[in-house]
């Protein structure tokens, strides 16, 4: 079993227009183990993506206070590639497009980066595993021969993120709004991929604005985030409450003084 802990995390970004630092996360606490699925819900602009980027180690996000620990060891000093090799994975909201590098070659490089030089994955084994995962995600072979995310539709990009997740088999996967822009069929396929990963050696932090995704990937724990903090945690029923009352309702119940940019 592995454990991921976020302790009193404060994160700032540099506002490019003003050239000033702006604090986004104001003390986030979160503990999760493999075998568990956690969901973070919250209104737009509340810092959900910032949390996922800070855990993964995006250099644009600056940790000003607090810590992130993997199995008791701080990972804040590790660059992003080392965090990835230590077991973290982030399915991104806006994956980069890289022309000239095929999807399949990229995935093989990612897998081999985790293996010794004299123990690279045999091509046949890799292809078999790839075919199996492609089938789960209803994806065709030509998707993997194409250049990485180049010219992919929004839905194809999301599927491709999940395909990478299934190929790499991380300990913890953060899924940042994997449901945005997906129609119901695509949502089902993506959920099928994540559910296939469920097990004692896998944990996932699912970031979403909407409760809908959680009908397909049922979480063990739901957290509500507002204004850079986790303000409430509970079981799956919390997501339903949010759906019924809206974020404004939860905010008012808790007596939090924040302005929501979009009230659902």
């Amino acid at each position: 079993m592995s454990k991921l802990e976020v302790k009193n995390l404060h994160v700032a970004v540099v506002d490019e227009d003003k050239g000033q630092e702006k604090e986004i996360l104001k003390g986030v606490n979160l503990t999760m183990n493999t075998g568990e699925i956690h969901a973070i819900m919250g209104p737009n602009g509340t810092g959900k993506s910032t949390l996922s980027q800070a855990i993964m180690g995006n250099p644009a996000y600056k940790v000003t206070e607090g810590d992130v620990l993997l199995n008791g060891k701080s990972i804040l000093e590790l660059p992003v590639d080392e965090r990835a090799r230590a077991g973290l994975f982030l399915a991104m909201q806006y994956p980069a497009e890289i022309a000239g590098v095929t999807n399949v070659e990229f995935m093989r490089a990612a897998i081999n980066a985790r293996r010794a030089d004299d123990d690279q994955i045999p091509v046949l084994e890799f292809m078999k595993f790839l075919d199996k995962n492609l089938a789960t995600l209803d994806m065709t072979d030509d998707m993997v021969e194409r250049y990485l995310n180049e010219g992919f539709s929004g839905g194809e990009k999301k599927r491709n993120e999940i395909l990478q997740l299934m190929m790499i088999q991380p300990k913890f996967a953060i899924l940042d709004e994997i449901d945005s822009g997906l129609d119901i069929d695509a949502l089902k396929v993506v959920s099928k991929g994540v559910n296939a990963m469920r097990g004692p050696e896998f944990g996932s932090l699912i970031i979403t604005h909407y409760q809908r995704l959680l009908n397909y990937i049922v979480p063990d724990t739901v957290h509500v985030m507002m204004d850079g903090r986790i303000v409430e945690s509970g079981g799956p029923e919390l997501a339903e409450k949010l759906e019924a009352e809206g974020y404004a309702g939860v905010r008012d119940d808790l007596g939090i003084d924040v302005k929501l940019t979009d009230e659902i």
Partner: protein
């Protein structure tokens, strides 16, 4: 060793020409240019400073054999190539041409055999059409001291399906000039794919002077790719010249992977109506070298199309200059000139320049340019690294993507794979000091 002033070059060049059984016209041309070259000006290229390079310090020409076993160092892979010529220094190592093509009149042979066996045909095209011998000091020097190369001729209406490949290897196991001429003539309505490779064996400091002429007659279609990888100790003048008649098409894809200083004179003249050239260049520059690449397309004929695409990467303390010159002359109505030059800098000590020059002397045309000098995209790096790929490898992947639009243009898979491997090698070397 004798200094240049002590050598009787006139006798030496005459003797060299006689020993090669060259026809009179070539011997005369050599001697005329030998007398003339010191007076001619060096060619000028914007922003490329190479005037002090030792590009005309000739050694005494003499017919010398090279030991082909030394080629093992290069790991050349041409065993199953149907049409191939391999030379090492002045020595022809392998020459193969599909007998069916030979029966159709296709000629592919080393330049000395060509001038002996097809003197009129070579004389008609050799430095007459695409470039003149007295164009500048370096072309005249070239004509005087020429000591290797190839001739490819594709007759009217002949379509060559399999690629024709040339490997021209410089012998720097000793002091010896490498003065190569490749003459490609695609006659009316013919089609051919030609790929060439230059490389060096040995560590001596030598000069390389390469002139390649591609002449595409009416309706001919030539696909030309090249990978140049001269050694760190080689100083080079690399000239490629294209001349296109009516409705001819020439697709160039060139990889500049040299490790030493080179000045590249890359010129295409769209002479005939409707001629079309696509010029693609990739370059990787490392160490302390300078690669100065001047790529020019001139639209003379009406409705001609000239497109230049150059992508380059600079590492360590090296310099890369891309000039893109698009020139539409008066009267070339309905023509199109487009260019894009992009340079990625991986080191703060590198120097890069992407320099677009548009010279438009006709109104009824379309023209455009884009140029940039930038750094590796940080979002792409972050994405690759977030999957566990380390920084250097991620950088190489991003760069390969950046250079990919030229790589995919290279038709022969063998050449393409080899260029990919060369890029990988050069990048790995360049990254060591970072």
């Amino acid at each position: 060793m004798e200094t240049q002033a002590e050598i009787d070059f006139q006798s030496a060049v005459s003797a060299f020409s006689a020993a090669r059984n060259e026809p009179d016209w070539l011997q005369k041309l050599r001697l005329t240019m030998l007398a003339k070259y010191p007076e001619l000006a060096l060619p000028k290229f914007d922003k490329i400073q190479y005037q002090r390079w030792p590009l005309t310090d000739a050694h005494e020409p003499a017919v010398q054999a090279s030991d082909a076993t030394a080629l093992a160092a290069l790991d050349l892979d041409y065993a199953d190539a149907k049409n191939v010529l391999v030379t090492f220094g002045e020595t022809v190592v392998t020459t193969r041409l599909d007998p069916e093509l030979a029966a159709q009149g296709v000629i592919f042979t080393d330049i000395f055999t060509a001038v002996r066996d097809y003197p009129e045909l070579v004389e008609k095209y050799f430095m007459t059409t695409a470039i003149k011998p007295d164009a500048n000091r370096l072309t005249a020097f070239h004509a005087a001291f020429l000591n290797g190369g190839a001739f490819l001729y594709v007759p009217k209406n002949v379509v060559v399906k399999e690629p024709i490949q040339g490997y021209y290897i410089q012998d720097s196991t000793r002091k010896q000039d490498f003065i190569q001429h490749v003459l490609v003539v695609a006659d009316t309505n013919s089609q051919v794919t030609y790929a060439e490779n230059y490389a060096t064996v040995g560590t001596e400091a030598n000069l390389a002077n390469v002139v390649v002429e591609v002449i595409a007659a009416d309706d001919a279609h030539v696909h030309f790719s090249a990978v140049d990888q001269f050694s760190p100790a080689t100083t080079g003048y690399l000239s490629r010249q294209g001349n296109l008649a009516n409705d001819a098409q020439l697709d160039w894809a060139v990889g500049m992977m040299n490790d030493g200083n080179v000045v590249v004179d890359f010129n295409t003249d769209l002479v005939g109506k409707g001629a079309h050239a696509e010029v693609k260049v990739v370059a990787v520059t490392t160490g302390k070298q300078l690669q100065g690449i001047d790529t020019r397309v001139t639209n003379y004929g009406q409705h001609t199309i000239g497109h230049i695409l150059q992508h380059g990467v600079i590492l360590e303390t090296s310099s890369l200059i891309f000039n893109g010159v698009g020139h539409i002359v008066k009267g070339a109505r309905g023509s199109d000139s487009q260019q894009e030059s992009r340079v990625l800098m991986l080191s703060t000590h590198a120097r890069g320049d992407a320099n677009p020059i548009l010279l438009i002397d006709e109104n009824d045309v379309t023209a455009g340019h884009a140029a940039s000098v930038g750094r590796v995209d940080q979002e792409q790096m972050y994405y690759l690294m977030s999957r566990g790929i380390d920084k250097k490898r991620a950088e190489r992947l991003v760069i390969r993507g950046f250079l990919g639009n030229v790589l995919t243009e290279i038709p022969a898979k063998r050449v393409r794979d080899q260029l990919t491997a060369t890029i990988e090698r050069k990048l790995e070397n360049g990254q060591k000091s970072e």
